[in-house]
């Protein structure tokens, strides 16, 4: 299991944050995602056998939000 933090482009509504959180929760391999509205960041753990960082970014991109930066191993 790995922990990462993703910096997203500015989130302009709390419901967008909630949306991303729900989508990540429903994605296989993503554990305890937490979307921080004010800092526009996502913190989560993932099971590398089921999903990778690109996969996580894809889920977020599919919803229409860009990822600016990923920090690994927190």
């Amino acid at each position: 299991m790995k922990k990462i933090s993703l910096q997203l482009e500015t989130l302009s509504c709390p419901t967008c944050a909630a949306k991303i959180e729900v989508a990540l929760k429903k994605s296989q391999g993503v554990i305890d995602p937490e979307v921080l509205f004010n800092s526009s960041r996502v913190k989560l753990s993932y099971d590398e056998n089921l999903i990778d960082i690109e996969g996580v970014k894809k889920v977020i991109a599919k919803l229409g939000y860009g990822t600016l930066d990923v920090k690994e191993g927190l």
Binding site: T10, C13, P14, T15, A18, N38, S39, G64
Partner: protein, 617 residues
Amino acid sequence: MGKKGVVILGSVLVVLSFVLYKTIGYRPVTIAVMLATTALTGAPIIYRAVAALRYRIIGIDLLVSIAVVGALIIGEFWEAAAVTFLFMFGDYLESRTLEKSRSSIKNLMALSPETARIRLEGQERIVAPRELEQGMSVIIKPGERVAADGVVIEGAAYLDQSSITGESEPVYKKEGDEVFSGTLLASGYLVIKALKVGEESTFAKILHLVEEAQDAKAPTQKFIERFSKYYTPSIIVLALLAFLITRDLRMALTLLVIACPGALVISVPVSIVAAIGTSAKMGVLMKGGEVVEKLGKIQVAAFDKTGTLTRGKPTVTSVIGYGLDSAELLTIAAIGETYSEHPLGQAIIAEAKERNLLSAKLPQDVKHIPGKGLCFTLDGQDYHIGNRALLKEYSIESSHCEGDLLKEDYKHKTVVYVATGKRVVGLIVISDQVRDEAPEVIRKLRSLGVKRSVMLTGDNQATATAVSAYLNLDEFKGELLPADKVAEVKRLQSEYGHVALIGDGINDAPSLATADVGIAIGAAGNDVAMESSDVVLLGEKLSALIDALQISRLAVANMKQNIFLALAVAGVLLAGVLFGGLTLSIGMLVHELSVLLVILNAVRLMNYAKRPKDVII
């Protein structure tokens, strides 16, 4: 095309649509331009709505998408173009203004040192701060930021510590003093030994706490989020019902747009982030929305004494000699205390140093008598320094000082006796001084409507009485053990309601946890205090408490204004739809304006840092 490009092109197209609509009316070219506007600005909205729907999430995007598609179906091309444009443009403006509300925290982050100048084998080198290691010698020159927490080993300088404490007056640092990462060297030159680097440094920890805090949700926010989770889908049902009953599709679609909870969901987080950012700039960390809400409601301010209401550093307040002058007395006493670790001994040495009375001579035959004082020999004479118990033990004559001892001023201070040849030759009076700003803080608390200002201390009753009388406190308790303090906090809670406990954050952890809001003062550099408290006053000024309290109250008021505004606008729009034939585009315009207004209202909170000092708002 970037966001900005879409905004510019969208604006051109929407203006063109409007002009064509008003001049030539609905002709094929007009409709084409309107469809182009809708496609450009509406595509991302529909895309997001569909993407979210795949995860069974019903959001604002979906409400708007249905409205737009509906408008196109009934041939309202202008309405579709205007609604998508307004929604996109509103979103753009909102993210810009939101950035303003978050700017205090961003600015704080920008103060992270970017380079560090180290001395390695006699050579100066510039490295990235993350390459620093504990024990390295770090050099700081004027205009540079300290890159690690450490202790000064060479040089002296004035440091601007406002990035940490919020206090802008430069602080003088010399050999042996502690410095913090992130502070700015104004003038001088320092070499420090790095003690805490990178993520371990105080500044990194502060940033981390602020970052966590801005997204720690307030109870009101949690409630609104739960509410909107059910609210948004139910609007779709409501619009559908409205259509089935009235057969008025236009009205049903308008209902979808105006019922968007955009302003409501943003009302609380935007106030919180502005409040937390502003207070962080002033050296006050509030750990999240819940703390902000609670702090605004406190009825009792309970203070610890030592280090909170007082400076926590005993200092000599007067020196009286009998048969020798005070300078001579202080010199001898300081020599005697050379090897002493006792705070009172330290106070004597500090005073001698201050008055330039330190001698290079060393005491001989030093004997410590625990709890009483010490004996030593100097230039063939034997001396005693200590308290009354010491006088008694050695049968030392002290009747000639009784007159001075009776003076009111000395009653609640500590008197150290200096004796030689079985006779007292001098008194050194030491006290832990009440902070200069403490009386003013207590007065302001009262004018802010805090019901009780209370002191809870482990110190003796006499000192507690004196400090309490001087500060005109409502209540005080002395000689309390940690468990007693917890009991006192509980009693105050049951009698008056919300209690804030203000302490140094180290010795009073259990009572800090019991209080509704635990506040630690002077906590920069002290990890335990920073972690165990709800509100951290990073600087040494007690007046930051008043700032914290005022900001939290303003923030709570701000949230209420925002919630009220959001609901009022929704209500007016609803009435407009039901009775006034409000159009889709006007509904969207007003809705977006209300969101912007809510954000701008929160940004107003940031003016607090700029207000004239000492103004009670």
